[in-house]
């Protein structure tokens, strides 16, 4: 009868969940008592059986996951997910709440302070968020172009093949310059889709690196120049003659600055 009550303990022993104070006593008992010893062995045998039922993920799942996650990594950030946090609320919440009641007033003050600071931060974040989102879009477009066979829809023979190509495809005319003499060879142009609008994208080659330059009329772009490094790529934005320019590449920011001065 005593043994029946010990079964929970033997389960915990087998699971390594018994407090150290009890461990020796319970294992000593299992060694002495045939019934409890058998029960312990049974649990271990069940465990050996169960391990065979473990399912191993098919190899193609791992491939699918890593390629899916790679796409996700260059995607613009998603909305917040409602997810479990590691630290759950204690089950005895009402009791805890009663004990904490005296602190409620302080908590309220802190909460209001937090709310104000959150509001302030989010107002600020929203401003920077737009640029963050745009740089994500730009980077995705640039990387996508690298992945494809050809990064351009119209190849450059000279600037006069690229600029007319945009006419009729866009409601504005981007400045297209051939900068081969300065070390930026014009590869061509394509249409892209950034921050919810069609934009002109020019592709330049600098040594072995490819540079995408996105151009659209100013309105939602930076008036002051903006630079960032995202996932190892340089992103540089500026405005000139009522046009917003964004350059994305794996070259250093210095090269992009040089291009900025030329365009």
């Amino acid at each position: 009868m005593r043994c029946e009550r010990l079964r929970d303990r033997i389960g915990m022993l087998v699971d390594g969940e018994l407090p150290s104070g009890e461990r020796d006593a319970v294992s000593a008992h299992a060694a002495d008592c045939p019934e409890c010893g058998r029960y312990r062995d049974d649990l271990l045998r069940v465990r050996r059986h169960l391990i065979q039922a473990r399912q191993v993920a098919p190899a193609r799942l791992a491939q699918r996951l890593s390629s899916r996650l790679a796409v996700e990594a260059v995607r613009p950030a998603f909305g917040e997910e409602v997810l479990p946090t590691r630290a759950g609320l204690p089950r005895s919440a009402p009791m805890v709440a009663r004990r904490l009641a005296p602190y409620a007033r302080y908590a309220a003050v802190i909460l209001v302070a937090c709310a104000l600071s959150v509001a302030g931060t989010s107002w600020w974040a929203q401003r920077t968020d737009t640029q963050g989102r745009v740089s994500r879009d730009l980077l995705s477009a640039h990387v996508r172009a690298l992945i494809q066979d050809s990064p351009v829809q119209v190849a450059s023979l000279d600037t006069h093949t690229v600029k007319p190509w945009f006419a009729g495809r866009l409601d504005y005319s981007p400045a297209v310059k051939d900068l081969a003499a300065e070390g930026f060879q014009l590869v061509g142009g394509r249409l892209d889709y950034i921050d919810g609008r069609r934009v002109a994208a020019l592709v330049y080659r600098r040594r072995l690196h490819q540079i995408s330059v996105f151009i659209w009329p100013t309105g939602n772009g930076p008036t002051a120049s903006y630079s960032a490094r995202v996932d190892g790529y340089s992103v540089l934005g500026w405005s000139k003659a009522n046009m917003t320019y964004w350059a994305v590449s794996d070259v250093g920011e210095g090269d992009l600055r040089e291009l900025e001065a030329l365009l």
Binding site: E17, L43, V46, V56, P58, L61, L69, A73, E81, P84
Partner: protein, 183 residues
Amino acid sequence: MQGIQDFERLLLMHTDAAYNLAYWLVHNPDDAQDIVQDAFLRAFRAQHSVIADDIKPWLLTIVRNVAYRWLSVQKRTANVISFEGALSARDDESGRALQVPSEAPSPEDLLMSHADQTLVRNALAELPPAVREVIVLRELEDMSYREIAEITNVPIGTVMSRLARAREQLRARLLAKETRNAL
């Protein structure tokens, strides 16, 4: 944006664990894969909310949530209850009916034989889902009581009683058969 690849690698380390849990919740290899993919994407997007160093319990919580949502959306709750039916039907389809060895096998054979595997899988499948997930997390994923309590969102006491229940049932099913075969 540094550390994206680190986090990706961290996630991929637990692919088997995630797949195993999803499989035992929905009992279908294709659906389990979809669930794992969905869960990994959610985990990836929410990587900033991870507090602990060991992400496995956190990831399995997400897998479990996605699996349960999937089950309720698919309205296949009936299938889950008649889990055993789905299992034997699958075995019939692939022509792998439960085979009982004609000669008395050695203990090693007993552990490794296909019949034995089928037996274990059937025994697991027969457990009620709430009990099954606890034993799967404990015995197949080596989660602690506290971690299982967090993942399944029940008190530790409930984890322990479900574990005891699962073991009682599995002991009767698996070990009774083992001794019968050995005789």
